[in-house]
């Protein structure tokens, strides 16, 4: 059982992580590199002169080591997500719910909401250079919010009664009503247009990668289960 979870999760996580990295290079990295020009002070927003919105950016893969590490860590991160998701898929299957590639798309969407969208609703994906508060406080809030959203997703999917749905709604809202750690003052040198674009792109790429991750995880879990049955 354990090796079946790990095998399926490794395949799904590696594939989705690789696609996530490619999508990041296409859609997120140009915004990130652009924002870094402001973070380093090379460009100044609201300075004496208006700044072009289309500066010369380093071309794609200008820093091969940096980009290679991005691929490695995207695959690692998505494999981590996949191990959690496939383990929960095995529990759901034990409860009598079919796990297929198609059902996996919904699992992926729920994972995106749990790990990206729920914490990101108050701690928006940060463009480089934004002002921020204590990292530990934000990590604690992030972890608690992900835990609450994960339980909420499970209740919505498998709770099956009004009480469960109500509890899920409360779990989804509570972290934001309590409030995420906020900085005392604003100091971000990056234009708001770039910050908004960065958050939107991060969410979009995250959603695409997560939905694919869910589909792959469902597919490989089903394939590995059939193989295990054939050998049994």
């Amino acid at each position: 059982m354990f090796s079946r979870i790990l095998t399926s999760a490794l395949f799904a996580g590696a594939a989705a992580g690789l696609i996530a990295a490619l999508l990041q290079f296409l859609f997120v990295q140009p915004v990130l590199l652009h924002a870094e020009l402001y973070e380093t002070g090379e460009l100044v927003h609201f300075g004496a002169e208006a700044v072009s919105a289309q500066p010369d950016l380093p071309g794609m893969f200008a820093d091969p080591m940096r980009d290679a590490l991005t691929v490695v860590f995207a695959m690692l991160t998505y494999t981590g997500y996949a191990v959690v998701m496939v383990a929960l898929m095995s529990v759901a299957e034990g409860m009598g719910h079919a796990v297929t590639a198609r059902a996996g798309l919904l699992w992926g969407l729920a994972g995106f909401i749990t790990f990206h969208f729920a914490p990101g609703l108050s701690l928006a994906p940060e463009v480089p250079g934004v002002s921020y508060t204590d990292i530990t406080a934000r990590q604690i809030w992030w972890t608690a919010t992900v835990a609450a959203a994960g339980i909420a997703m499970w209740l919505i999917a498998f709770g099956g009664n009004l009480m469960a749905y109500g509890a899920a709604a409360l779990l989804l809202m509570a972290p934001h009503l309590i409030g995420a750690p906020e900085p005392d003052s604003f100091a971000g040198p990056v234009p708001t247009e770039l910050g908004a674009l960065f958050a939107a792109r991060a969410f979009g790429v995250g959603m695409a990668a997560w939905v694919l991750l869910g589909g792959f995880a469902g597919y490989f879990w089903q394939t590995e289960s059939k193989r295990a049955e054939a050998h049994a």
Partner: protein, 56 residues
């Protein structure tokens, strides 16, 4: 009755591996997303920003 007992025990034996896997997976996510050791932070920097982890 027999079927029910069998099924229950099958489910019981499946929970433990799933639990270990969840802990392992969260460990990987924590390592890739949260640990602030500077070598790890620099290497994972772009991915952390793009996946919405609190960075810096």
């Amino acid at each position: 009755m027999t079927t029910k007992t069998l099924k229950a025990s099958a489910t019981g034996s499946a929970i433990l591996p799933a639990l270990f896997a969840v802990i392992l997976g969260l460990g990987i996510v924590t390592l890739a997303g949260h640990v602030q050791a500077s070598a790890l932070h620099d290497a994972a920097h772009d991915v952390r920003h793009a996946t919405g982890f609190p960075c810096h």
